[in-house]
Structures are given as structure tokens and as C-alpha cells.
């Protein structure tokens, strides 16, 4: 096969794939014109879903990173007994079907309920079918994903630079704050965007753990599900288009920042 023929086959494959993905993502925008999209997205119900999604995903992402930064650093730098098992355990929620993750969360509550002889039900810690429960459901996937992304970011910081910092008199805490954290800044920010994008698109765990209650737990994916279930096609299309735009912005941000986040994105 000549070079030209070889290249043609590959470029045709690429073109077909780009056309397919572009068309199916663009269908939401082609189906409804911009005016209709804007009209639907500015309706009170849609705005409520958007705000609920932005709020819960932001809190879940923040919580995920509060836990994931120390966890990822410890796993990256220190010899922790059973590290391989811990790695596998923390990766599991990422690869599990999201519905299973939500179901497991629900089962955890059932087990706790049994252990506490029913004392959990209705109390402040009972987050089932509540808005804080949405944050918890998003957190179950966001935190392990954050650990994975951050591990890659911390691994990119040369360990010798950290040892040099310590040789200059800085303890482990100061070395982390002054060297490790700022040097993995781009990876961390890319990770935050990625985890937030995943959280805002989370559907399965929220559906199982919090239900699909309009005006209460209808974050964007749930609102889309409700819209299509009830035949409100225009609403579903508009909210889907919004999620596609948010996803595009997230990927552009991650790519711009580079680092491991960009490779995973």
C-alpha cells in the first residue's frame, strides 16, 4: 500500500468518527433553535435544576478534594501497608456501574439502620431522598476519581525536589505546602474541573439514593430523565444541550491546563 493510500484510509476513519460524534452531539442544537433553547433554560424549573446541579456538584467536588489531596499524596509518596489493595478499593467506584454505586450507598444505610436499631431513620444523618444526599451520591464517585487524578499529579513532582526542600530545612508539611502542592497546581485544577464535570453529569447514584423528585432532587441529569419520561421533549433537549456545553467547557479547561488530567480527559 502506498503512503498516500495508507494515510487516506486513516484520515477517512478519523473524518467519519468526527462526523458521527459531531452530529450526535450537535443534534440537540439542531433539533431546537437557539431561541427555543434559551427560552426553556430560563424557565424557573430549569433554572432551579441548573442551580441545584451547580451547587451540589461544587460542594461534592470541594469535599472530594478535601479528602483526596492528603489521601492521594500519602498513597503516592509513602510506603503504606496494603497500598495495592487500597488502590484497587478506591478505583472500584469509578469502574462500577453508577447504579450499583448508588445501590451500595442505599444498602450502607440499611446496614447502619439495622446496627443502630432504627435510630438513623429520619435523623440528621439520614440523607436518603434529600438534597444533601445528592452531594453524598456525587461524592461517592467524585472522591475516588479525585484520588486517581491527584495521584498522577503528585507523581509528576520529582521526589528529589521534595528531598532537596527538606535538606534545606523544611519539614514534610512545609515541603508539601511550598513544593508539592504548587508544583502540581495545574494537575490539581485540571482534576477539579474533571471531577466537577463528572459530578454534574452524575445520574445513577442520585436516582437510586435520592430518587427523581421534581423540585427537590432534580439535578440536570435527573431533570432530563423526568422530561423525557413525561414527554417534555423540548425541556429534555435544552437541558441536554446545556450539559454538552458544560462538558465542552470542562474539557477545554482541562486541556488548557495540561497535566495528567488532560490525558485522562
Amino acid at each position: 500500500m502506498s503512503n498516500a493510500a495508507f494515510r487516506s484510509v486513516f484520515l477517512v476513519s478519523l473524518s467519519l468518527l468526527v462526523l458521527f460524534v459531531g452530529l450526535f452531539l450537535g443534534a440537540a442544537f439542531l433539533y431546537s433553535g437557539p431561541e427555543r433553547l434559551i427560552r426553556v433554560l430560563t424557565e424557573p424549573a430549569a433554572l432551579q435544576s441548573i442551580l441545584l446541579s451547580l451547587g451540589t456538584s461544587a460542594i461534592a467536588t470541594l469535599l472530594a478534594f478535601v479528602f483526596a489531596i492528603p489521601a492521594a499524596y500519602a498513597l503516592t509518596r509513602w510506603k503504606i501497608p496494603g497500598r495495592a489493595f487500597i488502590d484497587m478499593l478506591l478505583d472500584l467506584p469509578i469502574v462500577l456501574p453508577p447504579l450499583v454505586a448508588g445501590f451500595c450507598l442505599l444498602l450502607l444505610y440499611a446496614v447502619l439502620e439495622r446496627a443502630w436499631s432504627g435510630g438513623l431513620s429520619g435523623g440528621p444523618l439520614d440523607l436518603r431522598f434529600t438534597r444533601p444526599g445528592i452531594v453524598l451520591a456525587q461524592f461517592t464517585i467524585a472522591a475516588p476519581l479525585a484520588v486517581r487524578v491527584l495521584r498522577a499529579a503528585f507523581a509528576e513532582v520529582p521526589e528529589r525536589l521534595e528531598t532537596m526542600s527538606r535538606s534545606l530545612g523544611a519539614g514534610e508539611a512545609r515541603t508539601f505546602a511550598a513544593i508539592s502542592l504548587p508544583m502540581s497546581r495545574n494537575g490539581i485544577i485540571a482534576g477539579i474541573i474533571m471531577v466537577w464535570a463528572r459530578s454534574i453529569a452524575e445520574f445513577g447514584p442520585i436516582l437510586v439514593f435520592c430518587g427523581a423528585v421534581r423540585g427537590k432532587t432534580d439535578v440536570l441529569p435527573i431533570a432530563i430523565f423526568l422530561a423525557f419520561s413525561n414527554g417534555e421533549l423540548e425541556n429534555g433537549v435544552a437541558l441536554s444541550a446545556l450539559l454538552i456545553v458544560l462538558g465542552g467547557i470542562a474539557i477545554a479547561g482541562i486541556r488548557r491546563l495540561g497535566g495528567e488530567g488532560a490525558r485522562l480527559a
Binding site: L161, T163, M164
Partner: protein
């Protein structure tokens, strides 16, 4: 175990060594050191020479806390520091690869190990930067400096720690001969004024001869020779760091 470099005519034998490797062994596969013992007395300048792969750098990294020896120990002023974390060893180390912090500017790199930022420290910073010819670089990013400049910044950063033990690993290899002479003269003055002990690693012995009290030769991870009293006059001590 007998210390090869323990016959310094100046320092009484009872004085604890500024730094001492006692039968240190470490095997990293490609590089290894075996049963190496070297004593560095206070105020002494010890040169470790040898070809690439002789284990010179390993010796310094074991002392600075970058590596943990497989066996043997490292003493600092008579205290066993083998398992101490690097931040508690009080050793100023200038590694071969500079290890400047790329997210900080030159000034922040120089001041990284300095806790108090008072007037005296700032004056010392200005003085060292002048002497090393890096005063014009203070606001520059690390990715905008040359290899020779990076070596001088790493040296300045170590000197600003104001410690009495300095480990130098091929720290002027990227400099031209003239700058090397200037830095050598500066280090000779620093050593005299602060009673600094220096361990200098170099693969070529010509320049090292001029500053060293003791020259230790290494080959394939072993100590093969040591020469004392090589320093002959103050004039010869100026310049020529290897």
C-alpha cells in the same frame, strides 16, 4: 574501623568529626559503594575524586539524607545521623543536578532555606548574589536561566543556610574556567571566614588539588587512595574548584 582521612595534623583526634562515613555500603544496582569510611574534620576541605560511576555522588547523598545506606553509619559532630530526616541534619548540599524549584523565582530559591528574613539576611543575600554574579537574575524565573547560572544559584542557596558543613557535587561543572576561578576564590574566603568544612566531589582532580586538605580517590564504589596535606599555600588555595 580505621578512618583513612583521620590523620589531619591540625585537629586533635578527640574532636568529633564535622562529618564521618563509617563503613557505609549501598547498592543501587548501577551504582554502589562498599564499606566506605571517610572522616572530615572541622574546617577541613576534603575532595572526593574518581571517574563516573565511582560512587562519589552516592556518598554525598547518603550524608545529605537523600539515600539511606544499606549498612554502616554517618556521624555529624559525633552524632549518628544515619536515620535522621534531611531537615534535621544541618548539612548544606549542592547537588549535581542543582534541584532548583522551577515554580519559584531565583530570589525565592535562594531564600528557601532561610527562616528569618531580617536585614542581616537580606544583606547577606545581596552580598552572596554579587559574589556569585547572579544579582541581576534575582527576579528571573528558573526556566529562564542557563546551566552555569543554575549552579551558582544552587551554591548561593546552600551558603545562605549559614551552616558549617558544605557538600558540593560537581557544582561548577557547567562554568567556564574564569568563572570557576572566581567561585573558587569566593569559596576559599567563605571557608576561612566561617570555619566551613567542605566535601567536594569532582571527577577531575587538577582543580580540586588547589583547595583540598585531603583528597580521597574512589573507584567502583570503593575507597582506593587518600592524600593529606596537599594544600601548600594560600595563593594556591585560591581558585580552581573542580
Amino acid at each position: 574501623m580505621r578512618n583513612p582521612a583521620s590523620e589531619s595534623p591540625v585537629v586533635p583526634i578527640a574532636t568529633p568529626a564535622a562529618l564521618e562515613w563509617c563503613g557505609v555500603s549501598l547498592d543501587l544496582g548501577e551504582f554502589a559503594i562498599q564499606e566506605v569510611s571517610v572522616r572530615v574534620d572541622p574546617g577541613q576541605w576534603v575532595c572526593i575524586v574518581g571517574s563516573t560511576g565511582a560512587g562519589k555522588t552516592l556518598l554525598l547523598e547518603v550524608a545529605a539524607g537523600f539515600l539511606r545506606p544499606g549498612s554502616g553509619c554517618v556521624l555529624r559532630n559525633g552524632q549518628d545521623i544515619t536515620t535522621l530526616p534531611p531537615e534535621r541534619r544541618r548539612i548544606a548540599y549542592v547537588p549535581q543536578d542543582d534541584l532548583l524549584f522551577p515554580h519559584l523565582d531565583v530570589r525565592s530559591n535562594l531564600l528557601f532555606g532561610v527562616r528569618r528574613r531580617d536585614t542581616a539576611v537580606m544583606e547577606r543575600l545581596a552580598s552572596i548574589a554579587d559574589d556569585l554574579g547572579i544579582a541581576h537574575l534575582l527576579r528571573r524565573k528558573i526556566d529562564a536561566i542557563s546551566g552555569g547560572e543554575a549552579q551558582r544559584i544552587a551554591l548561593g542557596r546552600a551558603l545562605l543556610l549559614d551552616l558549617d558543613l558544605l557538600l558540593l557535587d560537581e557544582c561548577t561543572s557547567a562554568l567556564d574556567e574564569e568563572t570557576r576561578e572566581i567561585i573558587g576564590a569566593f569559596l576559599a574566603v567563605e571557608r576561612r571566614s566561617r570555619d566551613l568544612s567542605v566535601v567536594q566531589v569532582t571527577h577531575e582532580s587538577a582543580g580540586a588539588l588547589r583547595l583540598a586538605d585531603v583528597i580521597v580517590s574512589m573507584d567502583k564504589g570503593r575507597l582506593v587512595n587518600r592524600e593529606t596535606g596537599v594544600r601548600t599555600s594560600p595563593v594556591e588555595r585560591i581558585g580552581g574548584i573542580g
